[in-house]
């Protein structure tokens, strides 16, 4: 017969007693038998945690040159619970002689420490250099509580030339600490804050490790309690050419604008520049971070990546899209001519051409070369706003291009449906005219313009833009192109027009010509506000077998045919010299 239930319950109580007795026995062992040992650990000797930061992966250009890397740096730090209050003054004085900073400053830094966590040390002097570090190391016996910490220091050899591309890193805030702990992040780790540092954070990030050591009152190692090896992050290899990146940034000196150069072989980005720029090295040290406020206050917004963030009216470079849409629709041929008297009246409103005396009779090639507005008003009306809108979307506008940089803007292409829902009115012919010459509600980012011209150069294949080629030696990207439904004859005609823009004597883009290659392109001078214009140039080279495409955008930069085309000429020249075009 089984045991009665009542007895069973009492037996369970007995099992509980046995379990608690086991705990009590262990407690006795810890507190009474080994109590002295633990007491010593807690009182005299200290557990010290030495952080070993995993080195962050490098950002390398297509030829292996480092755009972001790390070097070894030394910090002079204090362990708060080991540095006795009475010793602070004396220690600061000894250190100040070596470090060349006043004893008061060092003392203040120690006292102003934020409420440190269990194993935080206080940095007294950051990145002190090997020589000073060795001199302090020799004196450590007389400086209880002082340690020399080594850590990898992030450096950006190309500085402001690639700042928007590399981005920068910064310490974590409390929420991020809590959330990322699960993924192996630790108290002191830094995170990629912008650019590729941010988009490839999980790849670049190394896993921190550390030593837990037992030290005596003089800070001497007694024994290691535990080790966790740090793990380095993975290197990322880019499609970018760092020297081109630097060259372009020099051309942009003193302007507000952006340049994107695309390798047409695989859609890889050869350079992506934004000006004015900032020094990402400043963000990488605690000392430097005190100075970065100047960037945030600067009216020129140097932190803004104008290549992917700025949405602007594209002006006449958009005539490429208008021409494609009109020809594809079949209402006009490349040989149809339109007479330009200097203005056109559409829906009762007068629309001027930029040349008030008029261009006379123009076919597509001439109209492109001269950027005749009247021709393109008519071409736009022939195509219709719907066709232009649809083609723009096919060309990747009105949505982010998906390049591997954070916070890309989408730009905007207006449509009949949008006008109805947002403004509550119908679409007017005048708005089609405005759209045809890249004005009105239309907004395009420089990188979208670069892709649009790439698709033309590649005979209707829109490349997917990308910056990363390899991760840790493994291929990380397959080139991919989206085929557009555009008649080859139409593309040929538009490309002939773009060739004429640069290579005829009356072409608006003749300043973009470069030695050793034949450039094709289109200029744009977009109205922005009353008297100011944005300067645009999109183009590719060589004209017959394109290998590289580019966009030059200058915010309030005057005329596209002058300032933008001149920069394009310089960059094409460089590309020819280095064998890219």
């Amino acid at each position: 017969m089984a045991v009665p239930a009542a007895n069973r319950a009492e037996r369970l109580a007995l099992i509980a007693l046995v379990l608690y007795a086991l705990l009590l026995f262990n407690l006795f062992r810890m507190q009474v038998l080994k109590g002295a040992y633990y007491h010593e650990l807690s009182e005299k000797n200290r557990i010290r945690v030495v952080f070993l930061e995993g080195t962050r992966g490098k950002l390398l250009d297509r030829k292996g040159r480092a755009l972001a890397t790390s070097r070894l740096s030394f910090n002079c730090s204090a362990v708060p619970w080991e540095l006795k209050k009475g010793d602070v003054r004396r220690t600061s004085e000894i250190l100040s002689r070596i470090l060349g900073e006043s004893a008061e400053t060092l003392e203040k830094r120690f006292k102003d420490r934020r409420k440190a966590g269990a194993f935080n040390t206080v940095i007294l002097a950051e990145d002190i250099g090997a020589e000073k570090a060795v001199r302090i190391e020799e004196l450590l016996d007389t400086l209880p509580g002082i340690i020399i910490e080594t850590r990898p220091q992030r450096v950006y050899p190309y500085g402001d030339a690639a700042a928007h591309l590399t981005g920068y890193i910064g310490p974590m805030n409390q929420t991020e600490k809590d959330e990322l702990e699960v993924y192996g992040y630790r108290e002191r780790d830094w995170l990629g804050r912008d650019g590729l540092e941010r988009s490839y954070e999980s790849t670049l990030h190394g896993t921190s490790g550390g030593l837990q050591i037992e030290v005596n009152s003089r800070g001497k190692l007694l024994r290691a309690l535990g080790v966790r090896e740090p793990r380095d992050g993975k290197d990322v290899r880019l499609s970018v050419d760092a020297e081109l990146q630097k060259f372009v940034q020099q051309q942009l000196e003193g302007t507000k604008g952006a340049v994107v150069v695309i390798d047409l072989a695989d859609g890889g980005i050869l350079s992506v520049n934004s000006s004015p720029s900032f020094d990402p090295n400043l963000f990488a040290t605690a000392k430097g971070r005190r100075d970065v406020g100047k960037y945030l206050k600067d009216e020129l917004a140097p932190m803004l990546d104008r290549a992917i963030h700025g949405g602007h009216p594209p002006g006449s470079i958009y005539k490429i899209v208008t021409a494609l849409a009109a020809l594809q629709k079949g209402r006009m041929t490349p040989h149809s001519t339109i007479y330009c008297p200097g203005q056109a009246v559409i829906g009762g409103i007068r629309f001027g051409c930029w040349k008030e005396t008029g261009h006379g009779s123009q076919d597509l090639r001439q109209a492109m070369a001269h950027s005749c507005n009247v021709y393109f008003y008519n071409a736009g009306l022939a195509a219709g706003a719907d066709a232009i809108h649809a083609l723009s979307l096919d060309l990747g506008m009105s949505k982010p291009t998906g390049v591997d940089l954070p916070n890309e803007k989408s730009g905007f292409v207006p449509s009949r449906a949008w006008k109805r829902s947002a403004r509550g009115t119908g679409w007017f012919d005048g708005e089609t005219a405005n759209l045809s010459i890249g004005q009105g509600y239309l907004q395009v980012t420089p990188i979208q313009a670069a892709l649009m011209v790439s698709a033309v150069a590649l005979d209707g294949r829109l490349p997917r833009p990308h910056l990363v080629k390899e991760i840790d030696g493994q291929k990380a990207y397959e080139p991919s192109f989206k085929a557009l439904k555009i008649d080859p004859a139409v593309l040929r005609a538009v490309k002939e027009g773009m060739d004429a823009v640069v290579n005829t004597d009356t072409g608006t883009g003749r300043l973009s010509r470069a030695e050793g290659t034949r450039v094709a392109g289109k200029t744009g001078t977009a109205q922005s506000g009353k008297d100011r214009t944005h300067a645009w140039f999109v183009g590719y080279a060589p004209s017959d077998k394109p290998r590289a495409a580019m966009v030059v955008f200058l915010e309030h930069g005057g005329r596209g045919g002058v300032s933008a085309a001149k920069i394009a000429s310089q960059v094409f020249g460089w590309l020819v010299k280095e064998g890219y075009a």
């Binding site: 089984a2 239930a5 009542a6 007895n7 069973r8 319950a9 009492e10 037996r11 369970l12 109580a13 509980a16 007693l17 379990l19 608690y20 705990l23 009590l24 262990n26 407690l27 006795f28 810890m30 507190q31 009474v32 080994k34 109590g35 002295a36 040992y37 633990y38 007491h39 650990l41 807690s42 009182e43 557990i47 945690v49 952080f51 619970w81 966590g117 269990a118 194993f119 809590d178 959330e179 702990e181 699960v182 630790r186 921190s208 490790g209 550390g210 030593l211 837990q212 309690l225 535990g226 080790v227 966790r228």
Partner: protein, 364 residues
């Protein structure tokens, strides 16, 4: 209607023991959350006292309620729990886990409700079906009753709560009439299958278990807590370093010291003497629960008391074991001692149920 504070018929042991444990707890929460310059009302101890008021009220209310009526809502409550446990898996994760349902002002953990619901349903099933008359297939039903919410809780993941269900289940199975030998066999099978199980755990859960097996593995993370907690407890010695005298505690060496690792503070400042007293109090409380189970002839109440006692006893055991480095860190608070309102209210409500069983059980 009797006034709420009429204590006639309230089991004295079940009233006084929790209060004594809480007294030890509040002193240590105060010590753990105190920083120089704080007045009493600025420490977490004040909040904890307020929560205690709420929890005591809940306990008295539950104790006046005839527990037999719970039998009727057992299945609906169980069904609701399953729905909530599934719903919670579709919420955005917080700290890598999906445990919380956000209901406007406060958030709620369905796994807390699951503890009660599973015990209620099991008690009802065991009360209505006698072990001797069950077919083999039907005897499997209790395993399904526990298994479904258990797996859902592990999916969240909330290893601590999931594991707590097991001892309560086994205790109730034993009371129902399963042989001790069979239950030991099941435990052995569970242990043997645990490597397979290990495979399905999240990375941080695996790390915790690996770190438990070898604390040196991660001296910065979970291992650090265990090492520091052991140092804190061990350094307390026989008599402790005295109230507010613990260096591990006061110098903030001990992470999570007012919640899951509060026993580190008790050990360091109270020493072996206070700790033994605390163990004794927990034992008295748990023993009282099992005695009520033994003395209640009505089977639903008996099973209910058994489940609750096993749950409370095991929760304390797991927490104490993990702070001493005997068990893996699973994130279970020490009942009545750790800081936290939800835990207080749940624990005292369960003790309230024990009181209700003692008070309302039909005596033939």
């Amino acid at each position: 209607m009797k006034p709420l504070f009429d204590l006639k018929g309230v089991d004295r042991t079940l009233l006084i023991t929790p209060l004594l444990i809480f007294a030890i707890g509040i002193a240590n929460v105060y010590s753990a959350s105190f920083r120089t310059g704080m007045t009493f009302d600025q420490t977490l101890a004040t909040k904890q006292v307020i929560w205690m008021g709420v929890a005591l009220l809940a306990m008295l209310m539950v104790s006046r309620f005839n527990y037999l009526r719970l039998s009727d809502i057992a299945w609906p409550l169980y069904a609701l729990t399953l729905v909530l446990l599934v719903a919670v898996l579709f919420t955005p994760p917080r700290l890598g886990a999906r445990r919380w349902l956000h209901l406007g002002l406060f958030s709620f953990q369905p796994s807390e409700l699951a503890k009660l619901a599973v015990i209620l349903v099991l008690a009802r099933f065991f009360a209505e079906n006698r072990r001797e008359y069950q077919s083999r297939a039907r005897a499997l039903l209790p395993f399904i009753i526990v298994g479904v919410p258990f797996l859902l809780i592990l999916k969240e993941p909330d290893l601590g709560t999931g594991l707590l269900l097991m001892p309560a289940f086994f205790a109730m199975l034993y009371l129902w009439g399963f042989r001790g030998r069979v239950i030991l066999g099941l435990l052995g099978l569970g242990l043997a299958l645990s490597p397979v199980f290990f495979h399905f755990l999240r990375e941080y859960q695996r790390n915790r278990i690996l770190v438990f097996l070898n604390p040196d593995l991660d001296p910065l993370g979970a291992g650090y807590t265990i090492i520091q907690s052991k140092i804190a407890i061990g350094s307390g010695g026989l008599l402790g370093k005295g109230f507010m005298g613990g260096t591990q505690n006061q110098l903030h060496f001990l992470p999570e010291r007012h919640t899951d690792f509060i026993f580190g503070v008790v050990g360091e400042e109270g020493g072996f003497l206070l700790c033994s007293a605390l163990f004794a109090l927990f034992w008295v409380l748990v023993r009282r629960g099992f005695i009520i189970a033994a003395q209640t002839p009505e089977r639903f109440g008996s099973q209910l008391a058994c489940g609750i006692s096993a749950l409370l006893g095991m929760q304390a055991f797991i927490n104490l074991g993990m702070t001493m480095g005997l068990l893996p860190v699973v994130g279970v608070p020490l009942p009545l001692v750790s800081y936290g309102g939800t835990s207080l209210v749940t624990t005292l409500s369960m003790i309230g149920l024990l009181i209700s069983i003692r008070r309302h059980r039909p005596l033939f």
